[in-house]
Amino acid sequence: MPAHKRQVSATLLFIPAFVLVVLFWCVPLIPGLSLALRSPGEAGSSTRWPSLLNYSRLLGEQTFRHNLVLSLIYVVGVVGMSVPASYAACSLMSRSARGTNWFRGMLLVPWAIPPVVSALIFRNLAGAEIAPLTKLYRLVSGDPNLLPLQDSFWAMLTVIVHSFWRSVPVMTLFLAAGMTTIPKELHEAAQTDGATPLQRFLHITFPLTRMHLAVGMLLITAFTLQDAETVYALTGGGPHHGTEVAAVRLFKEAFDYGQFATAATIGSFLLAAGLVFMLLYLAAFRRAEVTL
């Protein structure tokens, strides 16, 4: 087929998906960001544009700084818990051929459950007096009257545990994909040389799944940072802003209070973080394609 005709059919096939994606992901950016630069003027006067008033107001606000810190805690908590658990799940999957499919299907169930439904289940698990998580927390904290969702620390922990529960499947899949690329002989050779399982993990498994780990961590970080719905369903951001991560603040400002300019301003912070993740992802991706 002539070159120009190939170009035409390549474009024709690609363009419908491309247009839909651009319409959705790129077009709303401009009005969204311009909304953040619009501030109400002095009492009664019309709005001003452009103005950085929203930014200075938010950054000067203690609640917002708290929102950002909570977002950071949320991300670090979820990633920090999922990585070791996923490596463990992964090694269980690859070691025995028998029952692997069954185990994998089991492990992936949390991914298929609606996030708000699992969040509400956790809300009950830590909210009801007689629920197991409440009992566990009371045992650990030594406070027999603890109401976990009324306490910032335990409420945040519940939010993190819930997202951890949901993100392990995705992470495990990534790492498992990485592990299948490691030749079996490598482990066998190390074993005959007397390497312990820990040594084999540190010197074979970990370095060779590094890129997969990076991509998986990046995805989980990005999705945790922008997660508003599970926190909204689990705690509503409470008790008293105790679990109000930046994404939930945005969600509530926009859809519960109708403060669109404030929401857009918070959005631009999340967007900046998202763009950084995107660039890191593209860089990791390019390297992975070369090295794998």
């Binding site: 269980l92 699992s118 009950n124 990005a222 926009a254 669109f260 999340l270 998202g274 763009l275």
Partner: protein, 264 residues
């Protein structure tokens, strides 16, 4: 000894995965103020109350319409785009990684402008808008799945068909489509589960009671004063059954899609 500890670990993992789900089912079957772990007198009253209301069927119908509608848009578009990226060298090739990275941007940020746009063109409170938004959200990932499956089809198959006088469009229909069938299955799982489970688009882009989808209806159960947990969990269980079943049936293909994606 080693085998025992292995299976013990497997059991622990499965326990942790399954436990919250069992708790949800337990609560949905318990009368109010049930104190023991296994309900002493299990009851189906919560389910009966939900199933006897017409609203439940309307919400389930809305969820099904949005999920299947999105699949009808996403499947052909991602097959075509995935084929283009896998087989031709053009600008689509260079745009593909960026396309894949777009979902890393925070979707909550876009909801306000999208809702305003939809209001402007009179599409706020419309299931069609939900279908389009969900489709746009799913497409980047699905294009990638399809690209990987098309990659695995031997080129010689297509070249032979071309030599026999088959044109490009017929080629896509007669050769590529049947060969890419597992990829389409992976896309089907991804779209049906993702769209059925979606809450934030429904919350942001619709407000009409009659247009509620199931996840939004479940959240609506949270009372400001007191929550009917039995009813909420029964609704939750009914909402999670369809995606879990679809996923379990088509799991094989989905995992292949994921593996193809990240091993390439």
């Amino acid at each position: 000894m080693k085998a025992t500890s292995h299976w013990l670990l497997v059991a622990v993992f499965c326990g942790v995965v399954v436990f919250p789900i069992l708790w949800g089912i337990r609560t949905s079957l318990s009368p109010e103020y049930e104190r023991s772990f296994l309900p002493s007198r299990p009851t189906t009253e919560h389910y009966q109350r939900i199933v006897s209301q017409g609203r439940f069927y309307r919400y389930a119908m809305n969820s099904a319409v949005v999920s299947v509608g999105s699949l009808i848009i996403v499947a052909p578009l991602s097959l075509a785009a995935g084929y283009s990226v896998a087989r031709f060298r053009s600008w689509g090739n260079r745009a593909a990684p960026i396309l894949l990275a777009l979902p890393l941007l925070p979707v909550v940020t876009f909801l306000v402008p999208i809702a305003r746009y939809l209001n402007l063109i009179g599409f706020y409170d419309n299931l069609a808008a939900l279908i389009v938004a969900n489709s746009a959200f799913c497409i980047p990932f699905c294009v990638w799945i399809m690209r990987n499956f098309v990659h695995s089809i031997p080129r010689s198959l297509e070249e032979a068909a071309l030599l026999d006088g088959c044109n490009r469009w017929n080629l896509l229909w007669r050769i590529v489509l049947p060969c890419a069938f597992p990829g389409l299955m992976a896309v089907t799982v991804f779209v049906l589960v993702q769209v059925w489970n979606n809450f934030i688009f429904a919350y942001a882009l619709t407000s009409d009671q009659n247009l509620q989808v199931l996840p939004k209806a479940v959240v609506g159960f949270i009372g400001s004063w007191r929550t009917n947990w039995g009813g909420l969990m029964a609704m939750g269980v009914l909402t999670l059954i369809p995606p879990v079943i679809v996923f379990q049936i088509l799991q094989r293909w989905f995992v292949a899609g994921m593996f193809g994606w990240s091993t390439k």
